[in-house]
Amino acid sequence: MLSLRITRWLMGYVRFSVIGGSPERFFNSSVRSGAILWNIASRRNSGACVFAGGYKGLRPSARRAGCRLRVRERRGLPFLLRRLQPHRGIVAGFAAFLVILVLLSLHVWCIDVTGNTTMDTRTVLSALSENGLYPGVRKSEINTKKIEQKLMLMFPKIRWMTINTQGCKMQVCIQEKTERPKIEKQEGACNVKASTTGQVVAIRVFAGTAQVKPGDAVVEGQLLVSGVVENESRETMLVHASAEIIAETTHSCEIQIPLRQSVRKPTGNRAVRRSLQLFGADFPLTFIGRPKGDYDISGVQTRFRLFGTLLPISLYEENWNGMRTVPVEISRQQAIGQAKKKLSEYERNLPEGTKVLSAQAQDRVKNGTLVYSASIKCKENISKQSEILIKT
């Protein structure tokens, strides 16, 4: 029934009254001439509905039946359009709106990547773009299964992924693989040796025979825990020795800071370039070419969301800051400051679990360069497994 109503509305219809004469005769004559009547009212308030195009054709039938017809209502799209004829702009605007709406609904507006924890969203988007999924592409051209397979081959980190179409938005759901824990090799006989020179502070032996005790001084490569174990019946056997040997060690490093340095300083020249990105296409908003010379570039992309949905429009702003390289002579104190920063970076890069106890530093200037020598006292695990090679 709804489809019938829509058809009638689209074609337009007229509700009319039949006055005088014989309405039955009029109805019979009308339908015989090919008209279709509906909602026919009876004699007291006789009338019916007919398609707008068929109303004129009812007049001969009315004449034959001795009736007069009077239009009561005009309904449907043709009459609506006729009423809107003086306001052509509204009609044109509405038509343009419909066309744009239909055209836009056929394309991908935005891509939302979810579920990625370690993978960079931009990397995923770039890979999707390489495989034909980017804002602006026609939805009918996308083979989601194929893209999913290709991306899973490109990124071995992906355990599972799916691309869902949500209207004009493509939602890419990713689940990353959980990294397998590193399995320590426990096979074969081995000794535990010192990885560096130091003084033993504490020993925790898990397997093997300890060869040193707390307070002993050890040199790099010295046997700490032997893989040869003697049991109660004085029989020897080889085991995979394992231990945690904490020792006080000394690390020395030398940092060189030149007193004459080249520093990049801003010139004050600044250029801002803005562009509007619509469906992946760039539309420049500022007509400034790429500045020539030494410039630092930083860009900010502002994406717009409407009710949480990413829109296909984004604003990209590029800041170009002019720079120049200036030779600068720094003072000894400034050089020491820089050296201290480098030293703390060196301390951060020491093996995991290393605790810095103290640091002693000396500085001297040699050939226009500050030489910063530091001696760092640490507490660290110096155990290093060394395989026992057995000839069979």
């Binding site: 309405p23 039955e24 109805f27 009547l37 026919i40 009876s42 007291r44």
Partner: protein
């Protein structure tokens, strides 16, 4: 083998009237030849050699074409007049 409709046509009888009645509120008549009387209490239609008379309350012709019509309302009786 000759079809039933063709047999009727052969015998000089026109297309038989097909009537569907849904409860007592709607009657769909296919093969109607014209409306003879139309009021809220009675609708009389011609179907070939027969005249069918619908009686009831609030009767209306919902749709009318050259050979079919739909009667709706509270039907209380249907009479076939030869």
């Amino acid at each position: 083998m000759v079809h039933k409709d063709n047999l009727l046509a052969h015998a000089g009888l026109s297309m038989p009237t097909h009537m569907e009645i849904n409860g007592n509120t709607e009657a769909v008549v296919d093969g109607c030849k014209g409306v003879l009387e139309y009021d809220t209490d009675v609708i009389r239609i011609r179907t070939g050699r027969l005249t069918v008379r619908f009686t009831g309350r609030g009767l209306t012709i919902r749709c009318l074409t050259a050979d079919a019509l739909v009667v709706t309302g509270f039907l209380t009786g249907i009479e076939f007049l030869v």
